[in-house]
Amino acid sequence: MIRLSRLQVKVIERIAATVPLALAVALAAFVLMRAIPGDPVDIMMGEGASSSGEEVAALRSQLGLDEPIHRQLSGYLKGLFRGDLGYSIIRSRPVAEMIWEALPATIELAVYAMLFALALGIPVGVAAALKHNTAFDRVSTAVSFIGVSLPAFWLGIVGILVFAMTLGWMPTSGRIPYGLEPYRITGLLTLDALLTGNMPALGSALRHLCLPAITLGLGVAAVVARVTRSSMLDVLGSDYVLFARAKGVPESMVTIRHALRNAMIPTVTLVGLQFGSLLGGNMIVETVFGWPGLGRVVVDAVFARDYPVVQASVMVYALTFVLINLVTDVIYTALDPKMALQ
């Protein structure tokens, strides 16, 4: 019999606990569409319903709504396992295809927003901790406070006004001009452009990414700065840092080797948690910047009353969120072995 370490057991337990949760999420999405007051088909056919009874019946059977509920549910779950997320009424194409097309845009935006947040937040947080109670500390704390309070959609609009419309540094919206797209490998434009050596596409994609990524990432940067600062302060006051200093380790080494490494543990967890909020917040930023991602798909579908698309994308969002939380937990457990002992 294979002997597992406590850490491994913990990780396996955590993964196992995710399975019923994912199933419950899928079930909740199923219930959501059936919770629509009245008949979704009537609503989809439009208020001025001039459609015939035949059309209604056809749509109903296409959606599977004419079957008994347990049949609908089992069909839905079987479909999920085959990767079939239903069929969009408005676009007349499989929902899975639409989501698959939009997902890379959302992921790319979230990744760049996170990179921006870390690139800004960690140095500011570390510097604020090292210069504790100085003017820099106070100003950065106040700015991060304001950063958390600014609503992203407003920030985006002001960013467009200043940097795109007035200064003309960046495009106002979109992901890349038509015809300039690199050959699709991953769907992440910057990565595809790099892989194919398509430099004009890379430049254009990055320019398009700038404003939305900063808009989306600024709030996270404020949180990262704050957490890094407080955990860095904790660590700098700890015995082992005192000991390292007493041993005569140079201050720069103390900061980087001893303090920063340990102070990063809460930040790593934070990155995971915030990725979820980036995914949640992106539909606002995607709307403001005309970004062709999953957030746009959801918002458009809600307006078009394209319920199969709403159902599937809400589920995909939640499953992604659950998955990110799982990965964060696992990384965190691995980083901090004390966790495994509890």
Binding site: A142, I146, W154
Partner: protein, 308 residues
């Protein structure tokens, strides 16, 4: 650091950085809430901002120079200027922006307040029962809250709004339907740590019924933490309301809301930037005020949360 305390650090820091020093906190420890809050720089500023907004929201029907929906096509997109009829300018239909911002404050604050009150009542009630008795209800609620937490908040509310349709109360319910979870978790954890304390034991020995113990004995001891959480979450709720109204999924267009005003103004951004930026400033300042107040209250009321 345990998972729970880490979570505390993260949710706390997710909202606000600390602005006061430890020395200041200690100095205030012996005073009552009011003088403590007044000597807290951020808390005082936040309270002033919030009170100003409350005053504006309450008196908007009297104070606003024009009715919020009054269309004046002859004076469309007039820029803001002091000493004119429209201090903050007009929008694309010639409606007075100042009046609309003042009425928008009513909507935002009402949504925020109603959502927090419903969420807190529901969450604290269920949390106290689950924390006090444990058992099946506790286990069922644990699974249910886990499921709710699996959905990103905004997506959840958008999904719910797509089912219910836009509307003031629909929005409040959609926000509350997930908002109670945090109150539930806080109340449950607090009750679990309080229920074995001496004063609860004493009340039990005296033969007081469970309901009286919960409401009369435990609740007064945990209410300050709940007020702090409520204040901290209020800003989030208001941003969420504006975001949804911005998308056209929140407050219906006939009611002036900051989010929909910002969305309307987007088309005139280059020529008339005030239409979209001014309601956004109003929103940002209110959220900032609420966050400052929440943090001030936390420092003054809730040393437990402060220490994580």
């Amino acid at each position: 650091m345990s998972q729970a305390s880490l979570h505390g650090v993260l949710t706390r820091s997710a909202d606000m950085p600390e602005i006061v020093s430890k020395a200041g906190r200690a100095r205030r420890a012996g005073m009552g809430l009011w003088p403590r809050l007044m000597s807290h720089r951020g808390g005082r500023l936040g309270l002033i901002i919030v009170l100003a907004y409350v005053a504006i929201a309450v008196s908007a029907p009297v104070l606003a120079p024009y009715p919020p929906g009054a269309v004046n096509l002859a004076e469309r997109l007039v820029p803001p200027a002091i000493g004119t009829r429209n201090l903050l300018g007009t929008d694309q239909l010639g409606r007075d922006i100042l009046s609309r911002i003042m009425h928008g404050a009513r909507v935002s604050m009402l949504v925020g307040l109603a959502t927090i009150l419903i969420s807190a009542a529901l969450g604290v009630g269920l949390g106290m029962v689950a924390g006090y008795y444990g058992g099946v209800l506790d286990r069922v609620l644990a699974r249910f809250t886990e499921l709710l937490l699996a959905f990103p908040y905004l997506i959840f509310v958008i999904g719910a709004m797509s089912v219910m349709g836009p509307g003031f109360w629909n929005l409040v319910w959609a926000l509350s339907f997930k908002g109670w979870v945090e109150f539930y978790r806080l109340a449950r954890a607090l009750v679990m740590s309080e229920k074995n304390r001496e004063y609860v034991e004493a009340a039990r020995v005296l033969g007081r019924p469970d309901s009286a113990i919960c409401v009369r004995e435990i609740l007064p001891n945990i209410v300050s933490s709940i007020i702090v959480l409520g204040t901290l979450r209020m800003g989030n709720m208001i941003v969420m309301e504006s975001s949804l109204s911005f998308l056209g999924l929140g407050i219906p267009p006939r009611i002036p809301a900051w989010g929909s005003m910002i969305n309307d103004g987007r088309r005139y951004m280059l020529t008339s930037p005030w239409v979209a930026t001014l309601p956004g400033l109003a929103l940002a300042l209110l959220v900032l005020g609420i966050n400052l107040l929440g943090e001030g209250l936390r420092d003054c009321l809730d040393p437990k949360m402060m220490e994580g």
